[in-house]
């Protein structure tokens, strides 16, 4: 798979100095307003994720770890601060530009897989490629490769309801990789799986990081899962600790 390291539409890739990490948040803050009251979720987060890193975001329920992940992935907007990914402050992008940026730069893995029920495994993986200008045969080729990678070549024509939890998550992983994104984000990827299957998924993620050099940011509350990452970052009440 060739690298698709495009910046957002209209902006040239910035000159990334070797010292600037792939992901860097500066003074990242997020709060909600409920019933007139301001509820802080994240307070002045300064996180650095170098390229090729595999970091586990940990913390108790309500610590803001999922929110932090969502912000880095560009599916939520901060109240203040910068989110620099590959030199681009995505917090300043418009809705349309952000969507295009996500399509090219982020691969998503959700706790509940979020596959489209009416599409086959093959078509689910192909989905992000529909936003590119690749030809049909080019798309097919890539999807076939991705299926091989996650070991589901023989399940290509199955629909999600015909696959086990672990298999669905592997399809989701293949979908997350198909555009060769800059960053892979995973929100409780093993949350809905049993220990054994979860272990297989974590193993797959490890391989992606070590063999393909993918940068992975994972949210988990399971210490055993966190151990499989390169490093751990802890959040408590919206603040990075230790």
């Amino acid at each position: 798979m060739s690298a698709l390291r495009d910046g957002p539409v209209g902006e040239a890739p910035s000159g990334e100095s070797p010292n600037e990490p792939l992901v860097a948040t500066v003074g990242l803050t997020k709060h909600y307003v409920r019933g007139g009251q301001m509820i802080p979720v994240l307070v002045d987060i300064n996180l650095r994720v170098p390229e090729g890193d595999y970091v586990a975001l940990m913390g108790p329920s309500g610590s803001g770890k999922s929110t932090l992940l969502n912000l880095i992935a560009g599916i939520d907007k901060p109240s203040a601060g910068q989110i620099r990914v590959a030199g681009v402050d995505i917090a300043r992008l418009s809705e349309g530009d952000l969507a295009a940026w996500r399509a090219a730069n982020v691969g998503f893995i959700f706790q509940f897989y979020n596959l489209i029920p009416v599409l086959t495994a093959f078509q689910n993986i192909e989905l992000p490629l529909q936003l590119t200008s690749l030809s049909r045969s080019e798309r097919r080729e890539r999807v076939a490769t991705a299926l091989e990678l996650v070991g589901l070549a023989d399940r290509a024509t199955h629909r999600p309801n015909e696959l086990s939890g672990g298999q669905q998550q592997r399809v989701a992983i293949a979908r997350a990789l198909i555009t060769d994104p800059t960053l892979v984000v995973a929100d409780e990827p093993t949350g809905d799986l049993d220990r054994t299957t979860g272990g297989e998924i974590l193993g797959l993620l490890e391989r992606l990081n070590r063999e393909l050099g993918k940068t992975i940011v994972m949210v988990t509350h399971d210490p055993k899962a966190a151990e499989r990452a390169r490093r751990m970052v802890h959040l408590e009440k919206g603040v990075l600790v230790d």
Partner: protein
């Protein structure tokens, strides 16, 4: 393109729900079409009128007759090339349920003015030769299984007594819109009998029908005829045949307006049902829409999915509904046929049916599509069905 695939698969995800929705749309579209066709049929009589014919009646009301002698004077009015007269008989054939129009008409004058009543030369001759003869339209004859030579008894209401006629001819219509549901017999036969029993009611015509040389002279000739009889015993009102027919329709205007209003109500009902279906369907798929957006598809894409599904289902229902309208209209016509002739599904009705189906599809999808396009990804992903 994969959007049609996605839309198609999504539409039939909930087979029962989609099937029910389609049935609902079919029923609504058929009902809409039938109601409009009923209203059209009511007006049909006016639409099949001729532009070279005028109708003269008593200015006071159609219920009054005019002296027969008027016929001569009308014939002499400039622009009139033929005159005939007719009396509404209003008899009962066996039972009141078997209503059909019956007229005592001047022959052969009436046949000459109504060339669209097509008889074979033999039938025409036989009718003209038999004083107590009658002719009936094809539709009427078929309904009761009449054959030439049959004796048709009518119980008079306006002209009391039992009257029997010999069916001498069955006429077809020259055009499909020609009314072949009526029965016509000799005015003289009626008049003679009346003269014997109620002499004062004899020699009275219900309406006169005039043939024009030039259709554009209709207004002028009408006025000329009425002027002839101004300040006489029986003042007249002459109008084009179309205006005359429309006068009848106008009498039932209130009911027609109500039926038309009701035909739109059914569309509103099905709109509510479909809007509900689409709203529920969209809500159940919020997590999917959020996923699409997360992957980089825009809000417009999500909205388009919903619109396409809604329109697809609505259009399918609309087409089936249109197809079913025809056989149902025929069934309806055969049970109501004599009272409402011209029961035909018009192109305008068909167009409106499809239009209504499309509108239902669009309106039903509007709010859900707008909402779905605006989902915040994070909330959508959190949503569970």
């Amino acid at each position: 393109m994969f959007i049609p695939l996605l839309v198609l698969r999504n539409a039939f995800r909930h087979k029962l729900r989609t099937a029910l929705t389609i049935v609902g749309i079919v029923v609504a579209i058929v009902a809409f079409g039938l109601l409009r066709t009923i209203v059209d049929a009511w007006y049909a009589g006016a639409n099949s009128s001729s532009s070279v014919r005028l109708v003269t009646r008593s200015a006071v009301s159609l219920v009054f007759s005019m002296p027969l002698t008027y016929g001569q004077k009308i014939r002499q009015v400039e622009g009139v090339t033929g005159v005939a007269w007719a009396n509404w008989f209003g008899g009962i054939y066996i039972s009141e349920r078997n209503f059909f129009p019956q007229f005592a008409v001047s022959a052969p004058g009436y046949l000459d003015i109504y060339p669209e009543f097509v008889l074979t030369p033999e039938e025409r001759k036989a009718f003209l030769a038999d004083r107590s003869g009658a002719i009936a339209g094809r539709k009427l004859a078929d309904k009761f299984g009449w054959k030439i030579g049959d004796q048709i008894p009518l119980r008079g209401t306006i002209y009391p007594g039992t009257w029997t006629f010999n069916l001498r001819g069955i006429f077809d219509g020259a055009e499909p819109s020609t009314d072949t549901s009526g029965m016509y017999f000799h005015f003289e036969y009626l008049n003679e009998a009346i003269r014997r029993q109620y002499p004062r009611r004899a020699d009275q015509a219900g309406v006169f029908i005039e043939q024009l040389r030039d259709p554009d002279a209709a207004a002028a000739v009408s006025q000329a005829i009425d002027t002839t009889f101004r300040n006489s015993l029986s003042e007249t009102l002459t109008e084009t045949e179309k205006a005359f027919q429309l006068g009848f329709v106008a009498m039932s205007e209130a009911i027609l307006a109500a039926i038309q209003a009701v035909s739109f109500v059914v569309i509103v009902i099905i709109m509510a049902v479909m809007a509900n279906t689409m709203a529920m369907t969209a809500r159940e798929r919020y997590a999917e829409y959020a996923t699409f957006k997360a992957l980089g598809f825009g809000g417009g894409f999500v909205a388009a999915l919903i619109f396409a599904e809604s329109l697809g289902i609505a259009l399918l229902g609309g087409l089936i509904g249109v197809a079913l309208t025809f056989p149902l209209a025929n069934a309806f016509a055969s049970s109501v046929g004599a009272i409402l002739t011209g029961f035909r599904v018009t192109e305008e009705t068909l167009a409106l049916q499809i239009g209504a189906a499309l509108m239902v599809g669009v309106v039903a999808a509007a709010l859900p599509a707008w909402r779905a396009s605006r989902i915040r990804i994070v909330e959508g992903l959190r949503a569970i069905g």
